[in-house]
Symmetry: C2
Subunit: 418 residues, 2 copies
């Protein structure tokens, strides 16, 4: 059997479980004779262009296994989108050159929408340049906005963290609301799609349970209706818990977070719609408020990962290798839902060409008519994704997250000038 090496690359924002996918790729590749060495690109596709290839065979197998419970990107990632073939063919040619120099027969690109596009292009260019490589995309994004797949590895764990955080903070607020904070605002990620905000809705089911209000990027912000709902909630339940997506916009399309705020020196103050919302409540209704911004905590909270998400993250890595050694090119393993409750899923094969540059938004029937909550259809979709608790091992009170050695293979090519 002729052996080839494999190259795995992480791309874009990392997640609590992207390293589990890396583990799935590496362990599965190591078990296949068709694959000799598995390299990982240092800091994503930039490392591939620069010929900075981490030799994963130099890592302790126990450390590779520990990727299962370690958040962040073990080999580094980057925000770098390859230009189109027309604009910068040299980048694609360089990739193929690096593949050729290191006998890479299998390329695994683990990312979101942009990465599917890149992987698709790479899958096409190899043959055109006379060097065939089996190119397999692997889904990952906390934004949950990839098409075809039932969900995206990384999202289920964010969803669980956001729902649990909302439950917990609301118990706190509720128990003290009479004399203290009456309105709590929690800001979550999701600039274009409200999937993460929707997950906050899992914290409660009825109006008297939190969150009483969810603000989605899909729904133009209606200040009057919002304030009326806050007032109603405080009057009826004593408090109001709010999940707000960072992507919420005014009816004219401006982001709420772009409040034109300036500090004492006249400098523009960036970021945060939670404080904007909280101030609006204070100015108009006079309620005492608190606000939290989860930011990176939500996508790195491996301490509270969803077991379902973790299983799927590993499974797509494993399937990607199986597809590649079976000779497949330009495909992506995706998650197919077979049943809602109990949740049944399997990995199935999608074409990269169908995945590239399509954003999956929340269906309209996932948001309640008033625009402030999630429907039963949305719950039915979300609930399976947060099932199971996958805790990391702890030592001395802290999780035992692993750090890779990340030793590079010798370079054989001249440096790449981009």
């Amino acid at each position: 059997m002729s052996q080839k090496n494999a190259l795995y690359s992480q791309s874009g924002g990392v997640t609590a479980v992207i390293n589990a996918t890396a583990c799935g790729v590496i362990q599965t590749a190591n078990a296949h004779d068709e694959i000799a060495t598995v390299y990982a690109a240092r800091n994503g596709i930039l490392g591939a262009l620069r010929e900075e290839l981490i030799d994963t065979s130099l890592e302790d197998p126990a450390d590779i296994a520990a990727l299962m419970h370690t958040p962040g990107g073990g080999f580094g990632s980057c925000r770098y989108k390859l230009k189109s073939l027309e604009e910068n063919k040299a980048e694609y040619e360089r990739l193929i050159e690096v593949f050729k120099a290191h006998d890479i027969g299998y390329f695994f690109y683990n990312g979101g929408g942009d990465s599917s596009d890149t992987a698709f292009k790479v899958s096409q260019i190899g043959d055109a340049l006379g060097y065939h490589v089996n190119c397999v995309g692997i889904p990952k994004t906390i934004d949950n906005d990839l098409p075809v797949t039932d969900t995206c590895p990384g999202f289920g764990s964010v969803a669980k963290y956001v729902a649990v955080s909302m439950m917990e903070a609301s118990l706190d607020v509720e128990s003290m609301a009479e004399t203290s904070t009456k309105v709590f605002v929690m800001e979550v990620m999701g600039r274009h799609a409200g999937w993460i905000a929707a997950a906050g809705g899992l914290a409660g089911r009825n109006h008297d349970e939190p969150p009483q209000i969810i603000l989605f990027p899909e729904v133009a912000f209606d200040q009057e209706a919002f304030l009326a709902r806050v007032k109603e909630s405080v009057e009826n339940y004593g408090y109001c818990s709010i999940v707000v997506s960072e992507g919420v916009k005014w009816p004219d399309g401006r982001f709420l977070s772009d409040a034109g705020t300036r500090d004492a020196f006249g400098h523009a103050q960036l970021g945060g719609c939670a404080p904007v919302i909280a101030n609006m409540v204070k100015e108009n209704l006079g309620y005492k408020y608190h606000w939290a911004v989860l930011d990176y905590l939500q996508r790195s909270a491996r301490h509270l990962a969803s077991q379902t998400d973790l299983d799927q993250a590993y499974a797509v890595g494993k399937a990607a290798v199986e597809y590649a050694v079976a000779g497949k090119n330009s495909v992506m393993p995706v998650i197919e839902r077979l049943a809602d409750k109990p949740y049944e899923w399997r990995i199935s094969e999608a074409q990269l060409g169908d995945m590239a540059n399509v954003e999956k938004m929340m269906p309209e029937d996932f948001i309640t008519d008033d625009g402030f909550g999630i429907t039963e259809a949305c719950r039915t979709y979300l609930e399976p994704l947060i099932q199971g608790e996958a805790y990391p091992p702890y030592k001395d009170g802290l999780p035992q997250y692993v750090r890779m050695k990340n030793q590079l293979a010798d370079k054989v090519l001249p440096a790449f000038e981009k």
Copy 2:
């Protein structure tokens, strides 16, 4: 044996484990023949003044047990400090009246510094008014600022959450720093003392581990030294993680969070030193940043409670009842450290008079000379407090937090006009 009833009241900000103390009080009281019914004041001392006494004997014992894993305040709490005896003797007289009307022989007041003071006054006034009640304070505060006790129940769990969150977010930032965020700022509670900020320091040990900078309320903010340290960290390690206490002040004593910020309409914008710090970095060094504000999440994160903290929270509740039935008055069970490693502790008895109105600040030798980190002495103190993971039970992917029935005993007194 003559039986008396007991009254338990939560006070001030709640924690991830204050309900474990409630559980310790109720279960221990139920096991003692000296105590008939255990009442809990609805929403803290206000409920006692209003004669709103929750009859805990009407709760399912399984629900009382579930308080062990439920954050927030199960019977409600409040921010309400009784005035001095001279200023408002009527409030103290009313309390004694309520005690008398409901045959309360044991009063347990579970709170921080102010509550110790109140409990102390109540312990003195009963006899003066001819109605003896055994009054026992029980420590609780995430601020960890009570004197005498080794630590305060509630703090260890916040410390663990803050340290783990810092570890996780920093792994995320580090893996993407080359092309994305280089500076991450995480804001934690602690307006007067830097105990919680210090706990963030447990995430790493050396300069190349996060957090590279901690900003304490105890150390006047030195912008120049701070920016130099940020630059050095980004240049040496590729990124810089910062823990900032909400209580950080300029050398002239103003809070950094009081930035004089105004929104587009000229309204004062309140809160958040994380965005202030982040903007300062951007303006002066040009680095891309992200920031998070933990707010209530840190004190309600029961999903990641410290087992040590939980054990201590239960133990002080249990000891309080044992003191009371042994005839003690005006005392507080506190935690005494017997050894650092392995941590050994026991409950010992303190006098409420020694606890009232004393704030325990961080010792000077707990902060490094440069003002940006914690010393080995501080680590030795903090490490035992985050040991062990006390997870709540989950169902359908979410923690099974309990909600009390909170049924009130019949009132027998006229309403109290405060």
